[in-house]
C-alpha cells in the first residue's frame, strides 16, 4: 500500500497553523516515517506535479489550522482523496481547533517558536493523526470522499 499522505496547513503567521505543521513533522519523521509522507500545502498551491501525483495516488489526511480549511480544500481540488469513514469517528480531515478543545490546558502561542503548550498540542495532534494512519494502513479499503471538505470548519472568513 502506498504511504498515507499528510497535508498540513502551511502554518505561516498563525499559532494554530504552526501546530498543524509541527504535528505533521512529528508523524512523518518520528512516529510513522515508514507509512506516511508529508506533502507541503505550498507545493499543491503552486501546482507542483509530484505533489499532485502524491495526493492523487494515496489517501490523504489533512490538518487544518483554521476554518478556512485550506489543506482539505486544496487536496480535494487537486483531485486527491481525503479518507473518510462516515460510519465511525474516523475522519481524515483534522482541525487543530478541535484537538485544542480536547486539550484545553495546552493553549498554543508563538509562531516561529511554539510555547510549551503548543508543542504538547502538536504532539497530541500527532497522536490523533497516527490513529487515523494506522486505521488506514490496516484497512483493506475505506470509503474515500473526493469532495469532503467537512470536519474542518465551515469555510468562513475571519477579520
Amino acid at each position: 500500500m502506498s504511504k498515507v499522505v499528510i497535508v498540513p496547513c502551511s502554518g505561516i503567521g498563525k499559532s494554530y497553523g504552526t501546530v498543524a505543521r509541527e504535528g505533521a513533522y512529528v508523524v512523518t519523521e518520528d512516529l510513522r516515517p515508514d507509512t506516511t509522507q508529508r506533502v507541503p500545502l505550498s507545493l499543491l498551491v503552486l501546482g507542483d506535479e509530484q505533489a499532485h501525483a502524491d495526493v492523487v495516488g494515496a489517501p490523504s489526511i489533512t490538518i487544518d489550522g483554521c476554518k478556512l480549511a485550506c489543506a482539505t480544500k486544496m487536496v480535494t481540488e487537486s483531485g486527491g482523496t481525503v479518507a473518510h469513514d462516515p460510519s465511525a469517528p474516523l475522519r481524515a480531515s483534522l482541525a487543530v481547533l478541535d484537538v485544542y478543545r480536547r486539550h484545553r490546558d495546552l493553549k498554543p502561542a508563538g509562531i516561529a517558536e511554539l510555547n510549551e503548550g503548543g508543542q504538547k498540542l502538536a504532539q497530541a495532534l500527532a497522536e490523533e493523526v497516527v490513529t487515523l494512519v494506522d486505521a488506514l494502513s490496516t484497512a483493506d479499503s475505506l470509503p474515500l470522499s473526493q469532495n469532503d471538505g467537512g470536519g474542518a470548519g465551515d469555510g468562513g472568513q475571519n477579520a
Binding site: K14, S15, Y16, C66, K67, L97, Y100, R101, R104, G153, D154, G156, Q157, N158, A159
Partner: protein
C-alpha cells in the same frame, strides 16, 4: 429568523447588523422578546475575534446589571469577557454552545445566541444602548481604523 440587515463591507469582509436589535459597544446584541431579552455576540465581534474554541456563560439566576460579565469566549486569537448590556436575571442559557461554540461564528444572531435575560430595568437599559444604525457607525469607524493599521 428573517430580519432586515444593515451590511458593512470592508475589504473582503462583510459585517451584518440586524435592524431592530440593540447593542453595547463591546459587541453584545440584545433582541427584545416581550419581558425578556435574548443576548448574543454581534457578527462584527465574532469575525473580529476569530474561530471560537470555548464559550462560557454565567448560570441561570445570575443577577446582571450593565457592565457585569455575562459570558466569556476564547478564540484562536483572543480571550474576551462580555459585559452585560442589560439589567436583569439570566433565565436561560444556550447549552448547545458547550459542544458547539462555533455556532457563534456560524449563526451569531440565531443558533449562536448566548443567554436569555428576564429584564428588570429596560427603560434605563435602552438609554445606554446603541440602535442598529449607531452600532453600524461604530463598527465602521473601528473597521476603518484597523484597515489603516495594515
Amino acid at each position: 429568523m428573517s430580519e432586515e440587515m444593515l451590511k458593512l463591507t470592508i475589504d473582503k469582509f462583510t459585517f451584518r447588523v440586524p435592524k431592530g436589535l440593540y447593542f453595547n459597544d463591546a459587541g453584545a446584541w440584545v433582541r427584545l422578546e416581550g419581558s425578556v431579552a435574548r443576548l448574543g455576540l454581534s457578527d462584527f465581534a465574532q469575525q473580529r475575534s476569530g474561530d471560537m474554541a470555548f464559550a462560557e456563560v454565567k448560570p441561570v439566576e445570575t443577577l446582571l446589571k450593565p457592565g457585569d460579565e455575562f459570558a466569556s469566549i476564547e478564540t484562536i486569537k483572543v480571550n474576551v469577557i462580555l459585559p452585560s448590556p442589560v439589567t436583569g436575571v439570566i433565565a436561560e442559557i444556550n447549552h448547545a454552545l458547550e459542544d458547539a461554540p462555533e455556532l457563534i461564528n456560524q449563526d451569531p444572531y440565531g443558533e449562536g445566541w448566548l443567554v436569555v435575560v428576564e429584564l428588570t430595568d429596560w427603560d434605563n437599559d435602552t438609554s445606554r444602548l446603541l440602535d442598529a444604525e449607531a452600532y453600524y457607525a461604530l463598527i465602521k469607524r473601528q473597521a476603518e481604523e484597523e484597515m489603516k493599521k495594515k
